[in-house]
């Protein structure tokens, strides 16, 4: 069975700046695999260990990003694929899904695509549903447990929603997004890291994927990008002892009508 895991490159923390041309400046912040995508990768590797076949780590990114794809290989992915093109620099979620969908179609024999529930920078959770619709495959989002996965057959899983757990099933191929509770991602061993250090994953461009400029044009135009308004200046509660401070604090909370 062939599982594809989509990995997004995100800044380790969100202390980004905004450039005058409104692009995001994440310079000086380490780039990591989106945390939720690590869970997606671990899940793909575990099912591959059970059923055999391939697990391909797929990412849209720049050539430096190969380092993280190697990390995915060291964890246990069997293949890696980088989608790189200057035209991929300013994708929105749906156009990014269009790029991934084109690559997955080109791979041809994919049974299951796994992604994280959302990225920690954009945070929309729209990627997996968009990808599923573009591929014409069913989608299982917010999965916290895969109960059954039969190659060439069906998948049965639990969707962990706000207050209920749904047990759902559909036939493969399908797209699934996973939450953090699903597993505990492994750390790649040094030996494995060394073994993949020189692997050069294939790189596919927009032309390889048959994508035109129109396919990559976001539907919306960014017109403003600003930092959040500053919070009103706070107040420190003083007092000779903890009991006095606590009383003053509760006075304030009542004055602010928040309790």
């Amino acid at each position: 069975m062939h599982i594809v895991v989509c990995l997004k490159q995100v800044p380790r923390d969100n202390s980004v700046k905004i450039r005058p041309d409104l692009t995001i400046d994440a310079e000086g912040i380490e780039k990591i695999i989106n945390l939720f995508d690590e869970y997606a990768l671990e899940e793909g590797i575990r099912w591959n260990e059970q059923h055999g076949g391939k697990v391909t780590a797929l990412s849209i990114g720049t050539p430096e990003w190969v380092e993280q794809l190697r990390r995915a290989l060291a964890m246990g992915a069997t293949d890696a694929l980088l989608l790189n093109d200057p035209a991929f620099a300013q994708l929105d979620t749906i156009t990014a899904a269009r790029v991934a969908a084109a690559a997955i179609r080109k791979l041809g024999d994919v049974d299951l695509v796994i992604t994280g529930r959302n990225s920690t920078d954009d945070e929309s959770g729209a990627f997996a549903p968009a990808l599923a619709r573009l591929l014409g495959w069913p989608q299982l989002t917010y999965v916290g447990k895969v109960l059954e996965l039969q190659p060439g057959g069906a998948i049965k899983a639990e969707r962990h929603l706000e207050s209920v757990i749904e047990t759902v099933t559909c036939r493969l191929p399908a797209v699934m997004s996973v939450i953090k509770d699903i597993n505990e991602p492994r750390y790649p061993s040094l030996l494995k890291i060394k073994r993949v250090a020189k692997v050069e994953p294939p790189v596919w461009t927009a032309a390889d994927l048959g994508l035109s400029a129109a396919d990559l044009t976001p539907t919306a135009q960014l017109v403003e990008r600003v930092p959040p308004p500053p919070r009103p200046k706070g107040e420190m509660i003083d007092g000779p002892d903890a009991a006095t401070k606590v009383r003053k604090l509760v006075d304030k909370l009542m004055e602010y009508q928040v309790i």
Binding site: P138, E162, S163, I165, T167, C170, R225, M236, V250, V258
Partner: protein, 325 residues
């Protein structure tokens, strides 16, 4: 294409608060666009369909079918497309719960529509729809303008707009839309309540503990009782979720939940940027930390320097006394 379509959600026999917000904002936007405000009730939500008229809708559509008894992407997208067909909306409004995220992105993709998730503001500017959403843990506020000619699907973050007020004398026609045979590819086999589910996102008051609580026993001795005295929920930093003190359900932050309660108390939490990402828009933030230099104090409305072991029991007692609990 100047109408606005609201996807209704129900809680029991009432419209969900988010639907009342969307009807209020939708009314204003439909007027600005010179169109009508329509609402769509899918499957079981049909029970509350008529209420949408009281809250400002001009027209209500319902779609019913046995296959719509439970949420499925295919079922809900097909139902929404039936309404889009007759209503031709410029803007489709829905909430941001997990099902609506699953649905909204799928619908926008199928319609080749614009999509904005977690919208906190929507305006009509020179006839075009313009919408704002935070990204990067609230550190960046983005405003997008959508080209006319294609609809926009906007999933709106809770409490972004005032709820519409009921006008009992107002009503709207309710029209049932026919839908072709539905065969959702995903089958829902069971729905079970989540054990120990915590609806942090809906809590008005949250008390969060961090590594400063020292250990798991101390966390449970000090944090939930204070939350209970306040009638709130309890949260946790990632540090102590990763250490297994508290289930992930309680985690607030970049890789946990984003919350915006009226009162957020952070005790023994340093205030790492990933934590702030999940709670910085809370109305009042109280920080309790023994280190006066802790970053959490920089965003606190009220800061108290002290040891959680001493402060929290006093605070719980004082709250109980003042609120007569």
């Amino acid at each position: 294409m100047s109408n606005v379509l609201v996807i209704l959600e129900a809680i029991g026999n009432d419209l969900a608060a988010i639907s009342r917000e969307l009807l209020g904002k939708g009314r204003q936007l439909a007027d600005a666009l010179g169109g009508k405000l329509a609402a769509l009730a899918i499957g079981p939500t049909t029970a509350v369909a008529a209420q949408a008229g009281n809250f400002g809708a001009d027209q209500v559509y319902t779609v019913q079918a046995p296959a719509l008894a439970n949420y499925t992407t295919d079922g809900y997208v097909a139902a929404a497309k039936a309404a889009v067909e007759v209503c031709q909306p410029a803007l489709i409004l829905a909430g941001t719960g997990f099902q609506m995220r699953d649905f909204g992105a799928a619908l926008a993709t199928d319609l080749q529509a614009g999509l904005i998730v977690d919208a906190t503001d929507i305006q009509v500017v020179e006839g075009a729809i313009q919408a704002t959403r935070p990204s990067h843990g609230g550190n960046v506020i983005n405003t997008y303008r959508f080209a006319a000619g294609k609809p926009v699907v906007a999933l709106v973050r809770k409490q972004s707009f005032p709820e519409a007020t009921a006008q009992p004398e107002r009503s709207a026609p309710v029209t049932e839309l026919a839908i072709a045979d539905l065969h959702p590819r995903v089958e829902v086999q069971a729905i079970a309540p989540k054990v120990g589910a915590v609806n942090l996102t809906d809590a008005a008051i949250i008390v969060t503990g961090g590594r400063g609580l020292g250990n798991k026993d101390n966390y449970y001795r000090l944090i939930p009782p204070l939350a209970e005295a306040l009638g709130g929920a309890y949260g946790a930093s990632r540090a102590i979720v990763d250490d297994g003190w508290v289930p992930y359900e309680h985690q607030v932050g970049q890789t946990g939940k984003t919350v915006s309660p009226k009162l957020y108390i952070a005790a023994g939490v340093s205030g790492a940027i990933q934590h702030l990402a999940g709670m910085r828009t809370s109305r009042a933030i109280v920080a309790i930390n023994k280190d006066p230099e802790a970053p959490i104090f920089r965003i606190a409305t009220l800061g108290l320097v002290g040891d959680v072991n001493e402060v929290l029991p006093l605070l719980t007692e004082e709250i109980k006394r003042r609120l007569n609990r």
